[in-house]
Amino acid sequence: MARGDIKTTSDPDNGDKWPPIAAFSQTAHTTDSESSDTVKKPVSEETAKLKRPARASGKKRGVPEGLWQMCQGCQATIFRKEAEQLLNVCPQCGYHWYVSAADRITQLLDAGTFEEWNAHLEPTDPLGFIDKKPYADRLKAEQKRTGLRDAALTGTGMIRARRVAVGVTDSAFIMGSMGSVVGERLARLIERATLEKLPLIIISASGGGARMHEGILSLMQMAKVSAALALYSRSGGLYISVITNPTMGGVAASFASLGDLIFAEPRALIGFAGPRTIKATIRVELPKGFQTSEFLLEHGFIDRIVDRKDLKSEIARVIDYCRG
């Protein structure tokens, strides 16, 4: 609704001069190609790392080590191998467990087609932020623990032979929160998708929203990524947002909500304010199922709830409606 309006009511004199590709072709694309030789090595290393099943990065929140695991959905003890074969979905109750960004890419894209973009971008500590421990130390620890440089992977690949631009956030890395690197990788991804006229898929798993440790710069990533999506949309691009457990705060309030199509995995926690904040503010019990995918579907904010096993085929199917 909003987007349609912009197209018809705004700057009639502007015509097809929009988007101002010149405005961003220097920042994203040329930086990429200029430095492509120098960064080739790190990029391919990263990509190689991704192709290994990320077992090391699997020992995360909700995925403890061991042969057996308790399901958060039904509390049953599940044989891990069995759940893994079902893409980390509980065989008893269908609860969708954590999936690392690397595993997500393996699940979603045709085998061997993923090429990572902007892997050479790394986080810094612009504020000199210190809580119980310094942010700089936290970053190092998270990088070591997850094998990721920051909370998002971006790049290109094929979904059933359709080339797409794809971004995935990983809730294991500081709650999947968006700081400057996540914002920058996504903005470059979106700009490149605009230039190369690729469908765009972003899969969110960001319970942390905008990353506190980078302060106002994190907040501004919301504006930056949303503005990039606005230009992408005006160029006619198709954006499919896939929201997974959990997606909150500044991520829910920016790119996750801006899809032409919005899919969600079943029973994901999705919302703006955290349940504890809401409880503390209004001092009443929250209704059952509050802030779940099903709650959002019922209130009209999600197009489809899609089981993980169907995600690839569902995405391919809707791409064909819009771009076929």
Binding site: I6, P20, T27, H120, D131, A210, G215, L217, S257
Partner: protein, 329 residues
């Protein structure tokens, strides 16, 4: 001089001084007392300068939240020649936490959008202490589209602790409206000027914060999360709000350093609440000067510059065989 219904503890020495001045001025005084009066008048100015120059991050939050601090409604009467309020989001309701309407500013006709906190307790409750619901952002988006259709520049006055956290807010799409609003403002084909006049609280502030020029009043703050919220999450207790305030680097001088705002508008001595009229004059001067600059620009250039402005925000490192170096995005 020494009215001040609400006095912050950091202001106590100032008010003690001023109360004494008022007392001495109100009666016949001895030679010694006349000397004291002269000294106090001199000292109080120095004291205000010193205290407000040395505000800690948490004290800045207290000043930004000062109950007597001028609100959007004050600026509507002090800065603008006329305000024609436009109500409602045409869908659910009329959120009192978001004021919208036509206004005249010098020779310009504009649309004003602003968070409203209210003055009396009843008003504060009616507008949820400046925390807008989704209908507030739907209202501001609707009026911005109207402004775009008829070529009116948009002025956003930001003053919110954050978007409202509640059941109804979630049911009606709080995340979606903030995202949609940024999406809309990124390509709105009229000039947009945003000023944080008090609290720039997170997504609720940014929801009307994407524009061509962003200014912050000297003692306002603009943050990714409230200091209490940050302390609750990272320190597990809101008691650490002062530590969180220090870590978050959200004061006007920090925002300049991080290159996320264009201007800081200086406040009158002792803060905006001590002289709302003077503050309004300064705000008006800034707005008129900025509009003059922006309305002269062709729409394409305006939008391309707006995009680039936000596109460059953030700090990342770039890894190459030579090592890590800062990369300006």
């Amino acid at each position: 001089m020494a009215k001040g219904l609400h006095r912050l503890s950091l202001e106590r020495p100032i008010y003690e001084c001023e109360d004494r001045i008022v007392e001495l001025e109100g009666r016949t005084t001895s030679i010694d007392e006349q000397e004291e009066l002269r000294r106090l008048r001199r000292d109080v100015v120095e004291m205000k300068k010193r205290i407000f120059r040395e505000l800690s991050p948490w004290e800045t939050v207290e000043v930004a939240r000062h109950p007597d601090r001028p609100k959007t409604s004050d600026y509507l009467s002090l800065v603008f020649d006329e305000f024609v309020e436009l109500h409602g989001d045409r869908s659910f309701g009329d959120d009192r936490a978001m004021l919208t309407g036509f206004a005249k500013l010098d020779q310009y006709k504009v649309l004003v959008v602003g968070h409203q906190k209210g003055k009396t307790l009843a008003e504060r409750q009616a507008c949820h202490f400046g925390c807008a619901h989704p209908e507030g952002y739907r209202k501001s988006m609707g009026k911005m589209r109207l402004a775009a259709k008829f070529g009116l520049p948009v002025i956003c006055l930001i003053d919110t602790p954050g978007a409202y956290p509640g059941i109804g807010a979630e049911e009606r799409g709080q995340s979606l409206v903030i995202a949609d609003s940024m999406f809309l403002m990124a390509t709105l084909p009229v000039p947009i000027v945003c000023v944080v006049i008090g609290e720039g609280g997170s997504g609720g502030a940014l929801g009307i914060g994407l524009g061509d020029k962003i200014a912050v009043l000297e003692h306002a703050y603009y943050s990714v999360i409230s200091p209490e919220g940050c302390a609750g999450i990272l320190w597990k207790s809101a008691d650490y709000k002062a530590e969180a305030a220090k870590s978050l680097r959200f004061r006007s001088k920090d925002l300049v350093e991080f290159d996320v705002i264009d201007s800081v508008i200086e406040e009158p001595l002792g803060g905006a609440h001590r002289d709302p009229r003077q503050m309004a004059v300064r705000l008006k001067t800034f707005l008129v000067r900025t509009l003059r600059e922006l309305v002269a620009k062709p729409t394409n250039e305006l939008l391309a510059t707006r995009y680039t402005k936000f596109r460059q925000m953030g700090q990342v490192l770039e890894r190459s065989p030579e090592g890590l170096k800062p990369s300006k995005p």
